[in-house]
């Protein structure tokens, strides 16, 4: 299932090559509720969902984006690779979207990966992100552009330097 994203956004979405990183990295898994029939998203569709441009899943459930709290490497990675914004830019965009009505439901900000995992487990329409090592059977990892986090060409890699 492909959700439509703009060409411009697609151009900006290219992540840095894994070969340029000097430190060991870890993949960032995109997780959804186990009842969600979606198994694969394109990188473009993923951005659209996180940006609040798409509010419902094909099964009718409202999409609930789960974000980790400020300062965590996973959040930094998502802001950098999916939103392509820094923290201030994200906050500005969120406020503007809420004010203008473009964003119906603000992403849920959760304190820890554990809580985020539980949130995704409880909410059928939830989508969030976790380090691959934090994933368990209570949630479902979806493919991004057909790739799972253990794939060497997987785009969403956490840059540990961003949290230093």
């Amino acid at each position: 299932m492909m959700l439509g994203l703009t060409q411009n956004q697609t151009a900006q979405a290219t992540p840095p090559s894994s070969q340029t990183r000097s430190k060991p990295t870890q993949s960032l898994a995109i997780v959804v509720n186990r009842s969600n029939p979606i198994d694969n998203l394109s990188y473009r569709e993923l951005r659209k969902i996180f940006l609040g441009e798409r509010n419902h899943w094909p099964n009718g459930h409202r999409i609930a984006v789960a974000m980790l709290d400020y300062g965590q490497p996973e959040r930094e990675t998502v802001l950098r690779l999916i939103y392509r914004l820094d923290e201030n830019g994200y906050q500005d965009r969120l406020l503007r979207g809420m004010f203008l009505g473009d964003v119906l439901v603000a992403p849920k900000t959760l304190a820890s990966p554990l809580i985020l995992r539980k949130f995704v487990f409880n909410a059928p329409g939830a989508i969030g992100y976790l380090r691959a090592s934090d994933v368990d059977d209570s949630v479902k990892v979806i493919r991004i552009d057909g790739m799972l986090p253990d794939n060497k060409d997987y785009k969403l890699q956490i840059d540990e330097r961003s949290s230093e």
Partner: protein, 490 residues
């Protein structure tokens, strides 16, 4: 030699057993009320056991009630609380927009619902009746249905759709939860009914135990009182009888003593007063004195013997005896009497008779008394027959003393073994006697575990038979001894 010693020991033990049996039989008849009282006490103890059994059943029922209904109600309380908590925590998530808190409430709700699910499984596992199973399965089904709604409500809350969550909860969640609540209420009623039934059972056990105990105590008290009264009365009667017996004894002995003493006194006075002249008359009076002194001596001997056989536990020197040895001793002791009376004696002792166990002097005295009686009541026919034979069927040796005398009237037969009893015919015929001979003979035989019987015919004579039992072991030994003898016989 060793076998012979063992046999003797066995025979002695056997004789003691026989003696003890006779002693026990006398004691039993004397203490019948005491025995009955003991039996009543045993009965009381039996009732006590029944009561204890009822109490144990009551305890088991109470324990069952506690483990079943009471524990069930406690578990039910937990179940009800957890069910409420499941719903409550779900609704708490509605009260905040904080995702962390909402997840926390969702967690708490799930924890509570796991408690309920486990409780239902436990209830089903312990369900004993079809009604309980039906209720359990219904609750399980309704609880699953509610949980589906709860999951949807939680999802809507977390997804940021509180309005839809409330609508879903009100339209579907509330009715589903009401069904669960109704199921729980039905289970509660079932527990209450079971507890009530078990309580009734316990009350019934308690009532029954109380009734039994009361009846038993009442019966015991009444019967005990009656038994104590009867025992006292029996003892009193015994004491009166003993006193009467002692008085009779003293009176009889006094009477028996007075006759020879009077005769001796008269003869002595006549000699002293010079009324006796001539050697012939002096011889006559001297004979009166010696005869009466002899009679007096005999009487004293008989009284002493009677007193000895009257003791509760006469001491006997038990040993192995041959029947012919006993008979010979008795004949030897009565030789003077037999010669004086000019009586002929005919002895027939079966060959190969087994040895018996007893006291030679006692058995001999027993036979002596019977021989003396046979001589005294022979009515001119001075023949005395003594026979000894083995009665295999009765497992005893029978020694009989027979005479061809006057016989005993039927009216006297019931009294001849009573001490100091003398037949009116004997008294009328001036037959001397103390009335103790047969009594002593009977007691002597009984003291050794045997007995004394009589068969008589007026004008033909009487046969007194001493029955001397032998132990089984002795009989076996006797058989072993007799077989070679029989085989040797042509």
């Amino acid at each position: 030699m060793a076998t012979q010693t063992d046999l003797t020991a066995r025979q002695i033990v056997s004789a003691y057993v026989q003696t003890s049996k006779a002693f026990l039989a006398r004691k039993l008849s004397r203490h019948i009320w005491t025995i009955l009282l003991l039996l009543v006490l045993c009965g009381e103890a039996g009732v006590g056991l029944f009561v204890m059994r009822d109490l144990a059943r009551s305890y088991a029922t109470v324990e069952k009630m506690y483990n079943g209904s009471v524990q069930g109600l406690l578990r039910f309380g937990d179940l009800e609380y957890e069910a409420q908590e499941t719903r409550r925590r779900t609704l708490y998530a509605l009260t905040t927009n904080d995702g962390n808190l909402q997840v926390d409430y969702a967690d708490q709700s799930r924890k509570a619902d796991r408690g309920v699910t486990q409780g239902i499984i436990q209830y089903l596992a312990q369900a004993h009746t079809p009604r309980e199973s039906e209720l359990g399965h219904r609750l399980q089904s309704d609880w699953s249905a509610y949980l589906k709604v709860r999951d949807d409500v939680l999802g809507l809350i977390l997804e940021g759709s509180p309005k839809e969550a409330v609508q879903l909860d009100l339209s579907v969640g509330v009715p589903e939860f009401d069904r669960v609540r109704q199921d729980l209420e039905d289970i509660k009623v079932t527990y209450s009914e079971q507890a009530s039934q078990q309580l009734s059972a316990v009350a019934e056990f308690s009532r029954r135990s109380t009734t039994r105990l009361s009846a038993s105590l009442l019966f015991g008290l009444l019967f005990g009182s009656v038994a104590v009264w009867a025992i006292q009365k029996s003892r009193m009667r015994g004491a009166v009888q003993l006193a009467k017996l002692q008085m009779d004894f003293v009176a009889s002995v006094s009477h028996e003593l007075r006759t020879p003493i009077t005769a001796m006194l008269t003869a002595g006075e006549n000699i002293r007063d010079g009324l006796v002249l001539g050697s012939e008359s002096l011889f006559e009076h001297g004979s009166v004195i010696t005869d009466q002194a002899g009679r007096l001596s005999e009487l004293v001997d008989q009284v002493l013997l009677f007193a000895a056989t009257s003791t509760a536990r006469p001491s006997h020197l038990l040993r192995e005896l041959r029947v012919d040895e006993v008979v010979a001793d008795a004949i030897r002791s009565t030789k003077g009497l037999l010669e004086k009376a000019g009586a002929t004696i005919d002895v027939k002792i079966e060959s190969g008779l087994p040895p018996i166990v007893g006291d030679l002097s006692v058995l001999s005295q027993c036979l002596q008394n019977l021989i003396a009686n046979a001589v005294k009541y022979s009515a001119g026919n001075r023949w005395v027959g003594i026979a000894a034979r083995l009665n295999q069927e009765a497992r005893e040796i029978e020694v009989s003393v027979q005479d061809h005398g006057i016989g005993i009237p039927a009216s006297d037969l019931a009294h001849i073994f009573e001490p100091f009893y003398r037949s009116p015919q004997a008294v009328a015929a001036h037959i001397p006697g103390t009335g103790l001979g047969l009594s002593i003979a009977k007691r002597s035989a009984e003291a050794l575990g045997g007995g004394l019987s009589v068969s008589t015919q007026i004008g033909v004579g009487s046969v007194f038979t001493v029955h001397l039992p032998f132990a089984h072991e002795a009989l076996q030994g006797i058989r072993r001894q007799r077989v070679p003898e029989l085989e040797r016989q042509p």
